[in-house]
């Protein structure tokens, strides 16, 4: 388990001090995929760098499986860092080494024999699906392939935690999806705890189990992904869930219209005209007051605000009907709750 307690970090710049983290506390269970989402400048990168002490917090502590990272000597810390590895937005591969020896890099640091390191590297290349690229140099690979090599490298030392710092921000949506799928796979198969730092909602929606929303150095909201996104309480969370501004997009048709929010959390809903079918099968008509959805692969992500007329029965019926599809969360919202 990772426990972050009352973390504070301030930077001193020429224009004065900047408080990057303000009393941040988090608990991340083993085997979780934990998303930390926030706008740029919210302090996400600082937070993730405090977990492995690349940045020393001014106060507070980071405790990983009972071990307080801040109290370790340099040597102990280096040992511990092999168990908490990291992937980056810019991949950060060694450009003068081929893929195989990039993956061997952390093993070399650990003093593992060359033959053993290579054997392990080939295994990892297989896991990330790039066995044929062993002798290729990073410059010859696409962004997605480079990130896969970086993931293989991060897994080389059998870590218990994988930190992903905007790991998909430089990738296109399809590649992002496949890299996230790989991360999900690794989490399931190897039981590695994953912490994902991102500014993209879709990333959290598609792979994370829990999420914390970081705004101006503070955790403003945290919990299960479906829960937080279906019912964002804080202003920052609402900004992320409705990037275009929900209020302005809502068109209220009549006074007896009631609203339900439908959150697509990777549902297999593309290819099925869900709202139209509801009208045909259940006789419930819904007007779309707001929608921000996208499909990645076969799956749909995002949310919709449906206006439903005809009173209580229709609202209930709609919620029941839509919830039959897996990975869709439906909830009635009142106007000022939006």
């Amino acid at each position: 388990m990772i426990e972050i307690k009352n973390l504070t970090k301030t930077f001193t710049t020429a224009d004065g001090t900047v408080e990057a983290l303000k009393n941040v506390s988090l608990k991340i269970e083993d085997g979780d995929i934990y998303g930390i989402i926030g706008m740029s400048g919210a302090g996400k990168s600082t937070l993730v760098r405090c977990i492995n002490m690349l940045e020393r917090p001014n106060s507070g502590s980071v405790i990983i499986d009972g071990c307080d990272m801040g109290l370790l000597t340099q040597k102990q810390l280096r040992r511990e860092r092999r168990k908490i590895t990291m992937i980056f937005q810019g991949f950060n591969l060694l450009m003068q080494r081929n893929c195989l020896s990039n993956i061997c890099f952390p093993l070399e640091l650990d003093g593992i024999k060359r033959a053993d390191a290579r054997a392990r590297a080939y295994e990892l290349l297989d896991i990330v699906g790039l066995s044929d690229k062993a002798k290729a140099y990073p410059a010859q690979l696409s962004g997605g392939q480079q990130q896969r090599i970086a993931i293989a490298r991060a897994l080389a030392t059998n870590p218990k935690v994988l930190l992903c710092d905007e790991a998909t921000s430089a990738l296109d949506p399809t590649t992002t999806h496949s890299v996230l799928e790989l991360i999900g796979d690794i989490n399931r198969k190897l039981g590695i705890t994953v912490i994902i730092i991102t500014h993209q909602m879709s990333v959290v929606e598609s792979v994370c189990k829990h999420v914390a929303i970081l705004d101006d150095g503070r955790i403003v909201e945290s919990g299960e992904v479906g829960e937080v996104f279906a019912h964002p309480k804080s202003a920052a969370a609402r900004r992320l869930v409705f990037p275009e501004g929900e209020g302005s997009a809502v068109v209220v048709n009549s006074s007896d219209e009631r609203f339900i929010r439908v959150v697509f959390n990777g549902a297999h809903a593309t290819g099925t005209p869900l709202i139209a079918r509801m009208a045909v099968e259940e006789g419930i008509e819904a007007s779309i007051a707001y929608a921000s959805t996208k499909s990645i692969g076969e799956k749909a992500y995002g949310s919709m605000l449906l206006g439903i007329t005809g009173g209580e029965d229709n609202v209930r019926g709609a919620i029941q009907y839509l919830q039959k599809t897996p990975d869709i969360f439906v909830q009635e919202v009142t106007l000022n709750d939006r």
Partner: protein
């Protein structure tokens, strides 16, 4: 003047000198240059790395007074003209080689002039290494020494090669100057025949050979640097 330069008499004389003395002189110039560069790199490479790694916020922060001393000493040696430096290091040369004249003796001032230059070139190469890659290595638990040996130097290797090529050609130029204090090679021939005895044809031949040597070193170095760089696609 021109007809005097190419009269059959002077050409014959020049050819006599070229055919008897030039092979030896070329060899001396080449080995003095290579040896002096090698020693300059042996001293300059670690210093250049320290100039970057030892900074505040670097991977191996050193006391700031030490960094100051290092910087001042390097700048000082870099600002003394080579001609003066050769004379100034006579005591050191005598201490190491036993004499201050001759080809071997000229290596000492060449190294004293060469290593500060090399350390500045190395510094600029090492600074080109992407700081994110160094952060990556730190996040994987690399020690400062491992970062220097496994990341900084290998990642800047192509740049180091082309910078060392610059150093070779500069040191080659200096080695010709060392002809003045009795260092061997093409420089000495150019001085002795051209400057002191007005045998311009011989001087021109020596200068042309120096130019060819610079070209050869530069093309070998550039080719090696490009070939070693794995960042370039389509090779």
């Amino acid at each position: 003047m021109i007809d005097k330069l190419f009269s059959s008499e002077t050409v014959a004389e020049a050819w006599q000198v070229i055919s008897t003395q030039f092979p030896q002189a070329i060899w001396e110039t080449v080995y003095v240059t290579i040896l002096a560069t090698a020693f300059s790199v042996i001293i300059g490479l670690p210093l250049g790395v320290l100039l970057v790694a030892g900074e505040k916020g670097g991977v191996l922060p050193l006391p700031s007074w030490l960094m100051h001393v290092l910087n001042v000493v390097i700048n000082l040696l870099r600002s003394v003209p080579f001609l003066i430096l050769m004379v100034l290091v006579f005591p050191l040369t005598r201490l190491i080689v036993g004499t201050v004249v001759g080809t071997v003796a000229s290596i000492v001032p060449l190294v004293i002039a060469g290593f500060p230059f090399v350390s500045r070139l190395v510094e600029s190469s090492i600074r080109e290494v992407n700081p994110n890659i160094i952060e990556m290595a730190q996040s994987m638990g690399a020690s400062p020494f491992q970062i220097i040996v496994k990341v900084m130097i290998p990642e800047s290797f192509p740049s180091l090669l082309s910078n060392i090529t610059i150093a070779i050609t500069t040191i080659l130029g200096y080695s010709a100057m060392s002809g003045i204090i009795g260092g061997g090679g093409l420089g000495k021939i150019a001085m002795n025949y051209g400057y002191y005895r007005y045998k311009y044809l011989i001087m021109i031949a020596a200068v042309i050979l120096l130019i060819i040597l610079v070209q050869v070193f530069q093309s070998i170095g550039t080719r090696a640097a490009v070939r070693s760089d794995k960042r370039l696609k389509n090779k």
